[in-house]
Symmetry: C2
Subunit: 173 residues, 2 copies
């Protein structure tokens, strides 16, 4: 199973508050071990994500670094393959075999520095239509480290899947 | 290939502006033919989505209806299978064969009325961890009507996939 770290670039307040939270929760639920974000530091984002980890389990971590290029270069030095998800890149599904066992998956907001395209080991697309970095990350992680349908977390809260309605263990835990 | 309509329930302004835009763009890029949204009407959301369709092609439509239950009942009468995506539901991947050829895929924001769980033909989860309706919709559509990697749109703008950098046709079209 691949080891994946997510990099969320260019977080802006208040514009990206909820999108970046979704990016982080997708990173966690779809198997990344941590997320680093750049742009503006956001204690609310960090708190939301840590609360989910506290309640729902696992050891997913979120941290801030002001410079995404430094993060990319540091992870390359540590032997990570840098996968930049962009609608301008090559189809990920066709290039999956290039991707290493340790992966930094980078997703942007609206403006991604040109240097990110240069530094990435692979610029890859999840379709070439405008859609969402949240969706792109989910599809990419489901290709890189399946599967969201079988991954288990040991948390205080746990859903008992139902045909109708909601059932949970540890709702007040 | 299944015919899919997306239903985005409970849109709130300004909180959901960007999330609902991502939901709509994912619906389009991942093969739904249209999206209906409920909650608060939002001309900005409708305008953003229509601009993407105008520039990038296809005939995806967005429309507003104040009452999601009326939409669900109307689509059931028209022979659609109502699939409600919720982290409390049964794993979609294991229950895919239940889903009909015409599908209304409903995704909520934070509060979904209990009646939606009752009216749905299937309440299904994309994993049972908290993450994102944007990701859930993308994964569901990729199971229902693949694939985002091969779907083509005839638009004024078109990406020419590149290993590095950005290349487009019709950038100023």
């Amino acid at each position: 199973m691949r080891e994946v770290v997510a990099l969320r670039m260019g977080h802006r307040l208040p514009r990206d508050e909820r999108i970046s939270t979704h990016v982080a929760l997708v990173a966690r639920a779809f198997g990344a071990k941590s997320m680093i974000y750049s742009g503006q530091q956001d204690e609310g984002l960090e708190r939301s994500v840590r609360r989910v980890v506290e309640e729902w389990g696992g050891d997913f971590e979120i941290s801030y670094h002001p410079d995404p290029l430094k993060v990319i270069r540091e992870y390359k030095r540590k032997g990570y393959f840098v996968l930049h998800l962009t609608m301008y890149g090559l189809p990920l599904k066709e290039h999956l075999k290039e991707v290493g066992e340790k992966v930094l998956v980078a997703v942007g907001s609206e403006k991604v520095p040109g240097a990110v395209y240069e530094e990435a080991d692979l610029n890859a697309s999840i379709g070439t239509q405008p859609h969402s970095e949240v969706a792109a990350l989910a599809i990419a992680l489901e290709l890189l480290c399946p599967s969201v349908f079988t991954r288990e977390f040991k948390g205080k809260k746990r859903v008992i899947p139902q045909r109708k309605g909601k059932k949970m263990e540890g709702k007040n835990g």
